[in-house]
Structures are given as structure tokens and as C-alpha cells.
């Protein structure tokens, strides 16, 4: 069974968002997504200050077999990327909600988070 933490919001495309202080949000991929993608061997992250729109591709996560686009679950401006993933992309597999986060955004429109799925809805979609 996939782990779906109760304190996060989820996108249909298997990304999670954690709303943090001062209008920022942290983004990663779900436990379900990392399990489906299998061994992650490379993560291509957005540039700092990149302006992203919800639902648009923002990063690429690569397993041995395939490259998969990651869609930003929320709009905003990139203010931090996870530096640990360059040398240890497998953190996305081992700790998808913690050390394996992808990037942080200054959120453009806080109301957008309300349109994302609740943990219960996301989990129901996995069944």
C-alpha cells in the first residue's frame, strides 16, 4: 500500500504539495509514483526563478527504463531546488515526502491549492 500523508495536497498526476510559511510551497512526487517509476537514476529540476504554471511540465524524473515528465501541481516562481538529488536521485524512492522533495515555489495564487485533491480523494483514486 502506498503512503499518503494527511497533511499534503495531491495532483491527479501524482505530485504532492506542502503549503509552507510565507506563501511558499514544497513539491514532490508521491510514494505511489516513485514505486511505479522504479529506481530513479536522474532528476532534472527547473532553473531557479523559473515561472511555472499548474499542470505544465516542470521537471523530468528518469528511471533505468524511461524518462517521465513531472507536472507542477501549483503555479508560482521557483525559489529553491533540492540540491541533494544531483548526487543521490534515489532519495525520491527512499523518502518521497521528505529528503526526496523536488523544488519550492513562491505560490502565485494560494486559492489554487484548494482545487487539488485531498489525501482521501487521492488515495481513493489509487484503488
Amino acid at each position: 500500500m502506498s503512503n499518503v500523508p494527511a497533511d499534503l495536497k495531491y495532483a491527479e498526476t501524482h505530485e504532492w504539495v506542502r503549503i509552507e510559511e510565507n506563501g511558499t510551497a514544497r513539491v514532490g512526487i508521491t510514494d505511489h509514483a516513485q514505486a511505479e517509476l522504479t529506481d530513479i537514476v536522474f532528476v532534472e529540476l527547473p532553473a531557479m526563478d523559473a515561472v511555472v504554471q499548474a499542470g505544465h511540465p516542470i521537471a523530468v524524473v528518469e528511471s533505468v527504463k524511461a524518462a517521465s515528465d513531472i507536472y507542477s501541481p501549483i503555479s508560482g516562481t521557483v525559489i529553491e531546488i533540492n540540491p541533494a538529488l544531483a548526487s543521490n536521485p534515489a532519495l525520491v524512492n527512499t523518502d518521497p515526502y521528505g529528503e526526496g522533495w523536488l523544488y519550492r515555489l513562491a505560490v502565485a495564487n494560494p486559492a489554487e491549492a484548494e482545487t487539488l485533491k485531498s489525501p482521501a480523494d487521492y488515495e481513493a483514486g489509487l484503488a
Binding site: 522504479t38 529506481d39 537514476v41 533505468v64 527504463k65
Partner: protein
């Protein structure tokens, strides 16, 4: 995933984990999807020698060779292993996706004195590969048989049914492959896993099979080989005998050898950490596209991107620098010597 009509997992415990098991201990692959043809009769040897590029005459009973089925242009229809299992009997193991096409092609050239059968549905297959494969063989057969020598095959009769066991593989490690009646597949698979447990055996899928073969620069038909490419372009001329009197594709190959090949299939390795190179990515040199990757992956053994491509002969030299276009960014790579993975 569906593969040539068989349901095959890409992975069990994970591609990298399975890959390392084969490099360091032992793994078992279900290769039941592969095709098996049997050619027998007084005309079988000469007939095969006309259809296949390597020289069947060189095989004693119990030996095998890697060879090609070529079209008239010298292009590769399929690459396969031919085993001589008797004075007048041969087992051919062909690629899953080509079973029908190969069989039709061979059937169309059938001669008097040859009995030719497609036994692909009858046989299941397992490949046990890795430095500890030999121990698994001993545990499985309980000392009743000794493992065949490298590139040799033995036929064991169990209740009148043939079990073929060959010291061959597609990983670059020691190992053996077994072909036996499909009705016994589940029992043999479970038994191999049970007997291999003490040696750390792991079930392995198509994903690890691909990374293991690519590190050895073994070509995959459909990716690295095609009807538009010859074995000379693929750098596999040692498996073609141009001294043979006659075989399909010979004239085209002789001509190509005289004129020289324009492209050669060569392996490359990324210089630094990069996204894994993959099939169909462009290869550039001096700002222009010179080739497309035929196979590419992260190498679990080297922990860097590797691949193969048909590079124009002028650049197909060891240590030549090339660039791989990955999503619009160029990453440096160098052409390497085969194999990319060398035994410690």
C-alpha cells in the same frame, strides 16, 4: 508487459538490484518468449549453411555458434544461436518478435532432405546467469550431470522428453540456458529459485536483461540490428564466414567489404553524470547530427550513461568525442572499446 505474445515482467525486485545480482551472484530469467526451431535430416547442415551467415560446418555435435539470418542485401532479418544437437539435428533459438517471420523465410527456402519444425510453443526457457550459476546447476541437477563447457549444449531425456541445457547467455556472465517442455515451466522455475536460494538467486526481468547485454555491447535485434544494416556495419563480421561457397546475403556483403562500410555500430560512454542516453536521441559532432542512438541506458555497473549507435566510419574510432542531444542540451560522450563492462 506483452512481449511476443508472452506476459513478461520488466522487473521483479528492481532493475538495478537484479542487474547487480547477475554481476555478483546469480539471477534467473524467464526466456520462454524466445523461439525454437528444429532442423533435421541428411540435408539440414547444408541447408542451414545456405541460410545462415556463420559456418555450421565448424560445429561438432554439442557445440553452438552465434549467427545471422540475412536478406539478399546482407541486412539482418534475425540474429540467433544455432546448436548442433546431433549429427543431422540442429536447434535454432531465435528472437520472440521474429518467430513467424524467420520461420516463413526459412520455410520458403526449404529443401529436400530437411525436416523443419517451429517448436516455439512447445518449449519454455530459463537462463541462469552469474558467477554462481554453476553452483545452481549442481544444486538443481543434484550431481547427476556435469555442466556443459562454454558454448556447448547437452540433451537430457526426462520421461522421453528433451531438456536442452546449454552453457550460453546474454549477460556477459557465466551461466546456462535450459529449454524444456512448457508444461513443466512453473515447476522448473520454482525449483531453480528454491535450489538457488542458498546462492542468493534473484528472479530477473527484461529490464535487467537489457542493461546487462548493453554493458557487454551485445546487439538487440529491432534496436541495434535491422534489415537495413549488415553484420559488417554492426561490427560482427567474425560471425560471418565470407569463405563459404554460398549463402543468402553473401554477394552483398562481399561488395560492401570491398567498398568499405559507411557506418559502424560502436559503443559510447557519457563523460560525466547526465540524464541517461536513450534510443533515438541524436548524436552530434561539430554542430551537426551524425547518428541516432540505437540502444541507451544508465549502466548500473559503471553508474554512467552508455549506448550504441551507427556512427559514420570517419568518426567511429575509439576515444572519439561526440555529443548526445538530450532534450535540447548537449552532453559529452566518447566512443569506447567493446565491451563497456570489463570483468574485475
Amino acid at each position: 508487459m506483452g512481449f511476443g505474445g508472452w506476459e513478461m515482467p520488466i522487473q521483479y525486485s528492481g532493475i538495478i538490484d537484479e542487474h547487480q545480482a547477475v554481476r555478483n551472484a546469480v539471477g534467473v530469467f524467464d526466456i520462454s518468449h524466445m523461439g525454437q526451431f528444429i532442423a533435421s535430416g541428411s540435408g539440414a547442415k547444408d541447408w542451414l549453411n545456405y541460410l545462415l551467415a556463420n559456418n555450421v560446418e565448424r560445429l561438432d555435435v554439442g557445440e553452438c555458434q552465434y549467427t545471422f539470418l540475412l536478406n539478399q542485401n546482407g541486412g539482418v532479418i534475425d540474429d540467433l544461436i544455432v546448436y548442433r544437437t546431433g549429427e543431422e539435428k540442429f536447434l535454432l533459438v531465435v528472437n520472440a518478435a521474429l518467430i513467424e517471420k524467420d520461420f516463413e523465410w526459412m520455410q520458403a527456402h526449404l529443401r529436400e532432405g530437411v525436416h523443419f519444425e517451429n517448436r516455439s510453443d512447445h518449449f519454455a526457457g530459463l537462463a541462469v546467469q552469474g558467477p554462481l550459476a554453476r553452483k545452481v546447476f549442481e544444486a538443481f541437477f543434484g550431481g547427476k550431470y556435469s555442466i556443459p563447457s562454454h558454448n556447448e549444449i547437452m540433451e537430457i531425456k526426462v520421461d522421453g522428453e528433451s531438456f536442452f541445457v546449454a552453457r550460453t547467455g546474454y549477460t556477459g556472465e557465466d551461466g546456462f540456458e535450459m529449454f524444456f517442455p512448457a508444461v513443466h515451466a512453473a515447476r522448473v522455475w520454482n525449483d531453480i529459485l528454491e535450489k538457488g536460494a542458498q546462492h542468493g538467486i534473484k528472479p530477473c526481468g527484461l529490464g535487467a536483461r537489457d542493461t546487462l547485454r548493453l554493458e557487454m555491447c551485445y546487439p538487440l535485434n529491432g534496436s541495434d540490428l535491422s534489415p537495413e544494416r549488415t553484420p559488417l556495419e554492426a561490427g560482427l563480421s567474425i560471425f560471418v564466414d565470407l569463405q563459404k561457397a554460398e549463402f543468402i546475403g553473401k554477394d552483398a556483403l562481399v561488395k560492401q567489404r570491398t567498398e568499405g562500410v559507411k557506418h559502424r555500430l560502436v559503443p559510447f560512454k557519457m563523460k560525466d553524470k547526465s540524464p541517461p542516453p536513450r534510443a533515438h536521441y541524436a548524436i552530434q559532432k561539430n554542430g551537426g547530427k551524425i547518428a541516432e542512438i540505437t540502444s541507451g541506458s544508465l549502466s548500473p555497473s559503471l553508474n554512467i550513461g552508455i549506448g550504441m549507435a551507427y556512427i559514420p566510419t570517419e568518426f567511429a574510432r575509439i576515444n572519439e568525442e561526440i555529443e548526445v542531444d538530450i532534450r535540447g542540451k548537449l552532453f559529452a560522450a566518447t566512443i569506447e572499446k567493446k565491451p563497456l563492462h570489463k570483468k574485475q
